[in-house]
Amino acid sequence: MTFDQILGHKRQKEILNRALANGRLAHAYLFAGPDGIGKRLMAMALARAIVCEEQRGCGNCLACRKIDHQNHPDLHILEPDGKAIKIEQIRAFQRELNLKPLEAPRKICMIEQADTMTVGAANALLKTLEEPRGDTLLVLLSSQPNRLLETIRSRCQPLPFNRHPKSRIQAELEKQLGIASEESHVLAALSEGSFKKAFGKDRDLYLEQRRDLLKTLTGLSSGSILPTLDFADQLAADKTVLPDILEIFQAFYRDVLMTLQGRGDEELVNLDLKEKIHRVSAREDVSTILAKLEALVEVRHQLDRNVNRQLAMEVLLLKLAA
């Protein structure tokens, strides 16, 4: 992957290209930005541009191909071992750094999910990060840069990455998956500007079942409790899709909130359910919607803490149907 093949991030590309051209590449970068927007691709492209025999990351030469296959001897990739990057990994890597690069002009080290470094690991990295031996390039990738130690952050040149605009994701979804614009709109709106999220969504759930789910949800009333409990039962049954379903609910109520605030339709997520949204917004007001959204946020918290799913769903639905 060369820089050109990466979608968006024009400014970041420019910065890196210019630094490459002027020989002003810093020894440590921190690529910060949400998950799945291309930080790693960018780091790989940078690595290729450095090792490439033709100095441009051609993708054809041996060095570039080695980078692509991740078996270049001078490219070190540190990833979380289990949940965290541990101090042993850092130490092993530091031993590597004592050696001269084998093929490339400089050694390149990528630390993925750098925020998962343990405190010990992060501290052990400090001196290396400040003044690495020889000619080393360190690239830290992180979606949660605030979780890194201040001392780590201060030693890197920050390179923030922005989310992709919805339109770009939508266009890409349509191009690559060949789905209709209404559907791609839903996926793109829920992707938070991350390609990974947009493509990773369970399309059947988000596109097909969504309507049914929302239909049942809006059909609930506080008068008859049995359908509510049945629905809770149904929701609680599958642990894996539950977060996604809650996200769909959240998106729906957000749409209602937006409509209540008199926002235009183009901001809605569920473009295809306009009538339903308008119908619901007619019988709600801002405070009740906010209460419902709050309930949804709360239940997600609770699910993270392993509460009884069925109970949580029942409580949630009673609140939503109220």
Partner: protein, 575 residues
């Protein structure tokens, strides 16, 4: 040699370069000049303020070939070696990577040997807070009395993690954060030397990013240079730093203050379209509101906010519109939003929700105003004749029947065996001046209420003899010199009691404690406890009589030839 980032390239090489830390450099320079050099130093302070640099400068000063001086020459072989990090006698240890006790033992092995060619053997341990406890302890003896040729310099950002035994053996220097102006002026020097064109405004923006850390500021400057080359224009700096356009922020703030949720959502949409980080936006928004709070409470906020001219004026104008309470509420809510954004699965929604909430917040009423309002209402009510505060829930006698004899209502209920319960009030002193003036508000009621909130105080009162109850004066008698009377005379207790009585009677009451002589006791009215006891014995007598008369008991006596030893009433609570 590859490109060096500015922070490394411009690492201070002597004490004069070390800006913002004059208190450290001067102390060290004086120590060197006077030859009173401690053997162990601890440098602490935030990141990027010059700890490691100071350690290296100190090492150079101590080992300079030109002689011990506070101005290391920087050209002798010793100085250049230290700068390059190759000094034989200056050993820089990464404390975070060599944390174990074995590493320290190795160091102790080393320390015995004389320096190769310099005056001192200097051990710089950076990030020393990561050493293990054992490692620290292994250092203790060496650190206390190292050989004459050894010097230790420790540097850390987290001094609280260092054992006190280590701290007490070191001379500690706390490095301060560097003031914005100093950072900016140093960056001006550097950028001139690097032949950069950059405006003062941009420089101060970049410097502010550092938050008092030189390295952070220089990293950011590097970033700016990487983006825009040697000619830096202001706009590029703004976009690069991911700064939310000030206009957009002001718009949002205005929308929130004017409770225009529609406009606030508009702002979120623009942020979203620009692809800006929502957390950053929230952060900036929070900072704006913080600035407004400061504008409200501080006379001259310019220094505290690091803002000048236009920006400050705008902020002040906005602050005029809002009340302090509102602003504080907004700040609190935004802080909550900020933490929520971290774990939110739908951050856009989180932000939208919180902005809608902010914009629909009901304006707060100033608490002081509310209170004064209530007070004026009270006064107005007070002038009309219904001043009796009601304590229906606490009143033990639900229907205030003015019994001149003040028969306490919760008197022990009649025993089950008693056919006609307590026909007559127990004999008591008729002259007891009981609760005639305040009708329902009798002495008994007061004691009951005091008992509810302060049981001990209540029981003290129970033992008192009510001598006089003519509001606003109550006189209570106690046996002369008794414990109870001395208790009641203690200032804080009597104060408490005053409050309680005032509350009960709804008017200020003067409670006087009088001493009663033992001889007079028979003349004085009985205390509540005595009354109760009298009643109790009375009741017992009647119970016994009733029990004796009972036919079942009689037949038992007849059949078994029994004898009645004791009559025990079934617990009166249940009869």
């Amino acid at each position: 040699m590859a490109y060096l980032v500015l922070a490394r390239k411009w690492r201070p090489q002597n004490f004069t370069d070390l800006i913002g830390q004059e208190h450290v450099s001067q102390t060290l320079a004086n120590a060197i000049r006077s030859g009173r050099i401690h053997h162990a130093f601890l440098f602490t302070g935030a990141r990027g303020v010059g700890k490691t640099s100071a350690a290296r400068i100190l090492a150079k000063a101590l080992n300079c070939d030109e002689g011990l001086s506070d101005q290391p020459c920087g050209i002798c072989s010793s100085c250049t070696e230290i700068t390059a990090g190759q000094g034989l006698d200056v050993i820089e240890v990464d404390g975070a990577s060599n944390t174990g006790v074995d590493d320290v033992r190795e160091l102790r092995e080393n320390i015995r040997y004389l320096p190769n060619r310099s005056r001192y053997k200097i051990f710089i341990i950076d990030e020393v807070h990561m050493l293990s406890t054992n490692a620290f302890n292994a250092l203790l003896k060496t650190l206390e009395e190292p050989p004459e040729h050894a010097k230790f310099i420790f540097a850390t950002t987290e001094p609280h993690k260092i054992p006190v035994t280590i701290l007490s053996r070191c001379q500690r220097f706390d490095f301060r954060k560097i003031p914005l102006a100093r950072v900016a002026s140093r960056m001006r020097e550097i950028s001139d030397a690097e032949q950069l064109t950059i405006s003062d405004r941009s420089l101060s923006l970049v410097a502010r990013q550092g938050e008092g850390s030189m390295r952070d500021a220089l990293s950011t400057l590097d970033q700016v240079i990487a983006f825009s080359g040697e000619q830096v224009d202001d706009e590029a700096v703004q976009t690069l730093l991911g700064m939310v356009d000030r206009r957009l922020l002001l718009d949002t703030v205005e929308a929130v203050l004017q409770r225009d949720s529609r406009r606030a959502l508009d702002a979120v949409r623009r942020v979203d379209q620009l692809g800006l980080a929502l957390r950053r936006f929230t952060q900036d928004l929070l900072e704006m509101f913080r600035g407004m709070v400061i504008c409200k409470v501080v006379e001259d906020p310019a220094e505290m906010l690091d803002l000048v001219g236009e920006e400050l004026k705008e902020l002040k104008a906005l602050a005029e519109e809002a009340s302090l309470d509102d602003l504080q509420r907004i700040v609190t809510l935004l802080m909550k939003t900020q933490t929520e954004l971290v774990n939110s699965s739908f951050p856009l929604l989180t932000l939208e929700m919180s902005l809608v909430r902010l914009a629909t917040l009901a304006p707060t009423q100033d608490l002081a105003k509310l209170i004064s309002h209530i007070e004026s209402l009270e006064k107005r009510l007070g002038s009309t004749p219904l001043p009796k505060p009601q304590h229906p829930a606490q009143r033990p006698t639900p229907n205030p029947t003015p019994t001149p004899t003040a028969r306490p209502a919760p008197a022990p209920a009649p025993a089950p065996t008693t056919p006609n319960p307590s026909p007559d009030p127990p004999p008591k002193k008729p002259e007891a001046p009981v609760a005639t003036s305040t009708e329902s508000k009798g002495w008994q009621g007061l004691v009951d209420q005091v008992k509810q909130s302060r049981p001990m105080l209540g029981s003290v009162l129970e033992h008192g003899r009510l001598l006089k109850l003519e509001l606003p004066v109550i006189e209570v008698g106690y046996t002369k010199g008794s414990f109870m009377s001395s208790q009641l005379q203690e200032p804080d207790i009597s104060q408490d009691l005053e409050v309680l009585t005032t509350e009960y009677f709804g008017q200020p009451v003067k409670l006087r404690v009088l001493a009663v002589d033992i001889e007079q006791q028979s003349a004085a009215p009985p205390s509540l406890v005595e009354e109760r006891e009298a009643k109790e014995t009375d009741r017992m007598r009647r119970l016994r009589e009733d029990a004796m008369e009972h036919p079942a008991l009689k037949s038992v006596q007849d059949i078994f030839k029994g004898e009645i030893k004791k009559v025990i009433p079934i617990d009166k609570g249940f009869v």
